[in-house]
C-alpha cells in the first residue's frame, strides 16, 4: 500500500521537526522534507507527493514561486498545497490564495489546526 506522502518545505530545521512530530500523530503517512524551494523542485519528480506544506519566505525560490510552478505544471497542477506563513504577511497570503493555494496557516498556530487542515486532504 502506498502511504499518503506529505512534502514539507521550510528552511528552518526546527520548524520542520515540529511539523514532522505533529504530522506523525496522524499515523499512516510519510513525510518528505525539503529545506527550500530548490530542494522541493528536486524532490517532486522523485517522490509521489500527495500534499505540499510550504513556508513562503525562503531564499532563492520562495513558497509563492513554488506554488506558481506547481499550478502551472501539467503533472502537479492538481496537487493540494497548504501555505504556511508568519502573521503580518497578509499580502503574501492573499497572493498565495490567488495563485491557487488550497489553504493557508498563520504562524504561530495550534497543532490541532494543522492536523484538521491536513485531514481534509487525506
Amino acid at each position: 500500500m502506498k502511504l499518503f506522502t506529505i512534502l514539507i518545505v521550510d528552511d528552518s530545521t526546527a520548524m520542520r521537526s515540529l511539523l514532522v512530530s505533529t504530522l506523525e500523530t496522524l499515523g499512516d503517512i510519510r513525510v518528505v522534507q525539503a529545506a527550500n524551494g530548490f530542494d522541493a523542485l528536486r524532490v517532486l519528480p522523485r517522490e509521489q507527493v500527495d500534499l505540499i506544506l510550504t513556508d513562503i519566505n525562503m531564499p532563492d525560490i520562495n513558497g509563492l514561486e513554488l506554488l506558481s510552478f506547481v499550478r502551472n505544471n501539467q503533472v502537479y497542477k492538481e496537487l493540494p498545497v497548504i501555505v504556511i506563513s508568519t502573521e503580518g504577511s497578509h499580502k503574501d497570503i492573499e497572493k498565495g490564495l490567488s495563485l491557487g493555494a488550497n489553504e493557508y496557516l498563520v504562524k504561530p498556530f495550534q497543532p490541532e489546526k494543522l492536523l484538521e487542515l491536513v485531514k481534509r486532504f487525506l
Partner: protein
C-alpha cells in the same frame, strides 16, 4: 498561542540550536552591513538576508511558545522590513539598535535554556520602545504600477513577494534595465545549471526573482524566468551569457507581453530551431555531469549533515572509555596468565587483546573526530567582536587569521570562547594604541591583531598577538606592590612579575573603559583555561606588542595519563601537562626562602609536595629515592614530588560534580579498570594555586 506544552524537549533543543545559529549569523551579517555602511556601500541581498533571519526567528519562537523572543524578533523584523523596503534610512543610530537587538536575542536564548525568560520582560519592552522611535518613514515614491510600465505578464508578477516587488520598483526607479532571462534545464540536474546561471547574473546586477515555470518538455525539463535588474545593455548581457542556453528579453516596451503571446503562437516553429543548440549548450555547462551522478549529488546535498546533541557524543565517548578500561583488564589478565604458564592460551588471548586494542583505537578516533570542530568557528565570533569593539573605540585594526581549520573538541572550543574573547578585548583596549598615538611613535596607523592556531603533538596552540604598546613590567610591579599582592619585587624575574596579572583582583587599566575592567580579571581567564587542562602564557615587549599563547589538549574525553603514587595514594596526571620525570635524591633538594627547589639543568625548579597540598598525613618517612614530575608550560615549571611512577594509561576523566567545584588542583576522577577510582590532578590549577600561595 503556543504549542510548547505539547512538544518534546528534543524539539525544543532543535529550536535552541537553530535559534542560536540564526542569532550568530545575524551578528556576522550586521557587522558586514556596518562595514559596508561605513564605506558608503549597500547590498540589498545582505539586508534581505538579515531580515529573513529575524523573520525566521520570530516565526520559530512563536511556534515554540517563547513569546518574548518572538516579540523582540518581531520588532527587529519590523525595523529591518522598513529598511529593506526603503522606508527607513540606514544610519549609525539604526545600526546601534540592530546590534542591541541581536545582543538581546542572544541573552534571551540563554535565558530560555535556563528557564529564566520571564525575567527579561522589561528589557524586551524597552527594546520595543527603542525600535518604534526609529520607525519614522522617509518619503517614498508615490505608488506607481511598475508592472504596467514594464509590461510584465501576470504569471511573472503574480508570484513576487512584497519585497521582490519593492526591489523591482527600486531597480526600475534607479534607471536600471529589467530583463527577463528564460532558461531550461533537465529536471534531474537543474540545480547546478541554475546555480551557474545565477552566479553570472549576480555579477551583472541584481536577481530580483527566480520563477520556476513550465517548459516545452514538461516530463524531462524545468524552465525558469529570472528577473534581472542591471546597468548592462542587452548586448553586454548576451556576451556574458553566451555559454548559457538562455534567452534574454528586455522589458520596458509596452508590447512585451504581446510578444510572449506571439512567440507562443510560433512555438512549433521555434522548437525546431532553438531546441538543438540549447541542448548542446546545456551539455557545455561546466556543472552538468551525467544524470546518474547528478542524482547522487543532489540526493546527498539534501541531508549532508546531522545535528547531534553533544551529550549523546559524551555518552558514546564514555562507553568507548569503559571499553578501553575493559580492554586494559583483559590485557592484564593475559599478562598474568602468561606469568602463570597458561602459555598457549595466554598468547592467543594476548593476540586477541591486541586486535581489540587496534579496533578500539579506531573507534575512539572515529568518535573523537565527530566531536572535532574547526577553530574557524571561534574566529568568526571573535572577528565580529573585534570589528565591533574597534569601531566603538575608533581604532583601526587589521585582523589576520591563521590556521582556521585546526580542529579541537567542541567542548574545549566552547569553554575557551570567553577567555579568548577577554584576551582579545584586553589587546584592543590596552594593547593597540589609537591611530594618532601609533603615528606619533612611527607605527602604521593600522594596528594588527594576529589570531593563529596550530597543532603541536597532542596539543592545539592558539596565539593572540598584537603590535600594540606591550605590557609595562614596571607598572605591574608598582601596582602589585601598592595593592599588597607582593611584598617585595626585588628578587622577582620579569616573567614572575608578568605572571602577577593572573592574580585575582589585578587590573592594569589606567581608566576603566566599557570593555575591559568589568571585574572579570585575568585570573578568571587562567582558571577557565585550566578547567579544560589548558595553560596560558604571555610574552611582551614594551613598545612592540604582546603575545598570549594558549595551549590546549585536543580533547578531554580520553587522555593518556601518568599514574603516580604518593603518600599511600594513587593519582593520575594528564601526560600532556607532564614535561619530564626525574629521579630525586633527598640530597639534591635546596631551600630558597624556605621553599624547596632543585637545580635542573642550570635552572631552579620549585618543588611541590602533594601531601602538603592536600594535607595528607604520611605514615612513616618518604622513601630515600623519590621522583619529580615536571609539569608546566614554557618557562613556568613546577616539580611535583611523588613516591613512585606506576606507568601510563588511558583514562576517562569524570567530573566530580558541583559540590566539589571549588576544589583546586583536581580536575576529576577516573577509573583504573581494576575497581580502583583515583583522582586526576589538574596541573594548570596546581601551578596557579602554588603561585597564589607563593606570590607574597
Amino acid at each position: 498561542m503556543s504549542v510548547s506544552s505539547s512538544i518534546s524537549p528534543n524539539v525544543v533543543r532543535d529550536f535552541l540550536a537553530e535559534a542560536e545559529e540564526i542569532v550568530d549569523e545575524l551578528n556576522t551579517q550586521l557587522s558586514d552591513l556596518a562595514d559596508m555602511f561605513e564605506n558608503g556601500e549597500s547590498d540589498p541581498d545582505l539586508l534581505n538576508a538579515i531580515f529573513r533571519g529575524a523573520h525566521s526567528l520570530k516565526g520559530l519562537a512563536g511556534m515554540f511558545g517563547f513569546t518574548i523572543i518572538s516579540e523582540v524578533a518581531h520588532d527587529s523584523e519590523n525595523l529591518l522590513d522598513w529598511l529593506r523596503m526603503g522606508k527607513v534610512v540606514l544610519s549609525d543610530a539604526v545600526l546601534k539598535i540592530l546590534f542591541s537587538s541581536a545582543e538581546l536575542l542572544a541573552t534571551l536564548l540563554r535565558a530560555c535554556s535556563e528557564g529564566t525568560l520571564e525575567q527579561h520582560r522589561d528589557a524586551a519592552t524597552a527594546h520595543t520602545a527603542a525600535i518604534s522611535a526609529c520607525l519614522n518613514p522617509v518619503k517614498t515614491n508615490s505608488e506607481f504600477s511598475v508592472f504596467e510600465q514594464l509590461g510584465l505578464s501576470d504569471t511573472l508578477t503574480g508570484a513576487l513577494t512584497e519585497y521582490e516587488e519593492h526591489r523591482l520598483k527600486e531597480n526600475f526607479s534607479k534607471g536600471r534595465k529589467i530583463f527577463v532571462i528564460h532558461a531550461s534545464f533537465e529536471l534531474l540536474s537543474f540545480d547546478t545549471g541554475l546555480a551557474a546561471l545565477t552566479d553570472i547574473l549576480k555579477k551583472a546586477g541584481e536577481v530580483i526573482s527566480t520563477l520556476p515555470s513550465v517548459g516545452e518538455q514538461v516530463e524531462t525539463h524545468i524552465d525558469f524566468d529570472l528577473l534581472l535588474g542591471t546597468e548592462k545593455t542587452e548586448q553586454e548581457l548576451s556576451v556574458l551569457l553566451q555559454d548559457m542556453a538562455v534567452s534574454v528579453t528586455p522589458t520596458g516596451s509596452p508590447i512585451w507581453s504581446d510578444k510572449i503571446a506571439e512567440s507562443e503562437k510560433t512555438k512549433d516553429f521555434e522548437e525546431v530551431v532553438v531546441e538543438s543548440p540549447r541542448m548542446s549548450a546545456i551539455q557545455k555547462l561546466p556543472a552538468s555531469p551525467s544524470t546518474t551522478q547528478d542524482e547522487s549529488v543532489s540526493a546527498r546535498s539534501m541531508s549532508s549533515t546531522v545535528r547531534v546533541d553533544i551529550g549523546k557524543l559524551d555518552e558514546l565517548m564514555n562507553i568507548v572509555g569503559e571499553l578501553v578500561l575493559a580492554h586494559s583488564s583483559i590485557s592484564s589478565i593475559a599478562n598474568r596468565m602468561r606469568a602463570d604458564k597458561f602459555s598457549r592460551m595466554a598468547i592467543d588471548l594476548g593476540k586477541a587483546a591486541k586486535e581489540l586494542e587496534r579496533r578500539l583505537a579506531d573507534l575512539q578516533k572515529g568518535v573523537m573526530d565527530i566531536r572535532m570542530i574547526p577553530v574557524g568557528q571561534l574566529y568568526e565570533k571573535m572577528s565580529r567582536i573585534i570589528r565591533k569593539i574597534s569601531r566603538e573605540q575608533g581604532k583601526n585594526i587589521e585582523l589576520k587569521l591563521f590556521g582556521s581549520d585546526t580542529e579541537l573538541d567542541k567542548l574545549i572550543v566552547e569553554s575557551i570562547a570567553d577567555p579568548l574573547m577577554h584576551i582579545i578585548r584586553n589587546a584592543i583596549d590596552h594593547g593597540i594604541e589609537s591611530p594618532e598615538k601609533r603615528l606619533a611613535v612611527g607605527k602604521d596607523e593600522h594596528g594588527t591583531l594576529r589570531l593563529s592556531s596550530y597543532q603541536k603533538g597532542n596539543h592545539v596552540v592558539i596565539e593572540v598577538e598584537d603590535d600594540g604598546g606591550g605590557i609595562d613590567i614596571e607598572k605591574i610591579k608598582q601596582k602589585a606592590l601598592s595593592k599588597g599582592l607582593i611584598a617585595d619585587a626585588a628578587s622577582m624575574s620579569e616573567r614572575d612579575i608578568l605572571d602577577l596579572i593572573f592574580l585575582p583582583g589585578f587590573s592594569t587599566a589606567e581608566k576603566i573603559t566599557d570593555i575591559s575592567g568589568r571585574g572579570v580579571g585575568m585570573d578568571v581567564v587562567r582558571n577557565n583555561i585550566a578547567a579544560v587542562s589548558g595553560m596560558v602564557d604571555i610574552e611582551t615587549r614594551l613598545g612592540y606588542g604582546s603575545r598570549f599563547t594558549i595551549i590546549l589538549p585536543i580533547t578531554l574525553a580520553i587522555i593518556k595519563a601518568l599514574i603516580i603514587f604518593c603518600a599511600g595514594r594513587i593519582y593520575a596526571i594528564s601526560i600532556t601537562s607532564v614535561v619530564e620525570s626525574i629521579l630525586l635524591s633527598t640530597s639534591d633538594i635546596r631551600t630558597v626562602e624556605g621553599k624547596e627547589v632543585v637545580n635542573l639543568r642550570e635552572q631552579t625548579l620549585p618543588l611541590l609536595r602533594l601531601e602538603r597540598l592536600f594535607n595528607i598525613e604520611r605514615i612513616g618517612n618518604p622513601p630515600e629515592e623519590q621522583y619529580v614530575v615536571v609539569v608546566g608550560a614554557a618557562e613556568k615549571r613546577l616539580g611535583i614530588v611523588v613516591d613512585d611512577l606506576l606507568g601510563q594509561q588511558d583514562i576517562v576523566i569524570k567530573p566530580l560534580g558541583s559540590a566539589f567545584k571549588s576544589l583546586k588542583g583536581i580536575s576529576g576522577a577516573a577509573d583504573l579498570g581494576d575497581q580502583r577510582t583515583i583522582l586526576v590532578l589538574d596541573a594548570g590549577g596546581i601551578i596557579s594555586e602554588t603561585m597564589r600561595a607563593g606570590g607574597g
